[in-house]
Symmetry: C2
Subunit: 92 residues, 2 copies
């Protein structure tokens, strides 16, 4: 357990919080069936950034970067799909 | 320029994209004066996570982690302030 330093505690908390943060957003979007106020450009830029993080994680063989960003990608991609679906059904 | 490898290109693009992604969200919230669909719990968890990243960046003396997370913190804290302000003015 010598890897578990004071610094790493903040690093792990940071990675955990900035990853699970999108779960309540996903739940809210699914529950209210609306994501009008969520910026589409934000989602596209953020998801593209997450793909870059995943490639970076693969290239430098970093499991924490990979895990955190794959989970964040799944949450944000789901929010994007819900947003696009609800927008389409509103227009009909 | 020997630090500028193929891996780092993805790393820098990733950091840039996941940082500037929140600028269109901030602009949209300011323009529409509404952030009802943006989850408050997401903002709180994400901002707490960013504070942990900043502390981690300070502890391990990482300038890229510090810069990226301070900028992301400013954008998200501004979105939180706008969301709270617009919610209050709606209730009045």
């Amino acid at each position: 357990m010598n890897h578990f330093s004071y610094e790493n505690l903040f690093g792990f908390s940071a990675a955990l919080l900035t990853t699970i943060a999108f779960l309540p957003q996903l739940f809210k979007t699914w529950q209210t069936k609306s994501a009008e106020d969520v910026s589409l450009i934000m989602l596209i830029l953020f998801i593209t950034g997450l793909i870059c993080w995943i490639i970076y994680g693969l290239k430098i063989h970093s499991i924490p970067i990979l895990i955190a960003n794959i989970i964040t990608f799944i949450f944000n991609f789901s929010i994007l799909i819900l947003k696009t679906t609800y927008r389409k059904s509103m227009k009909q």
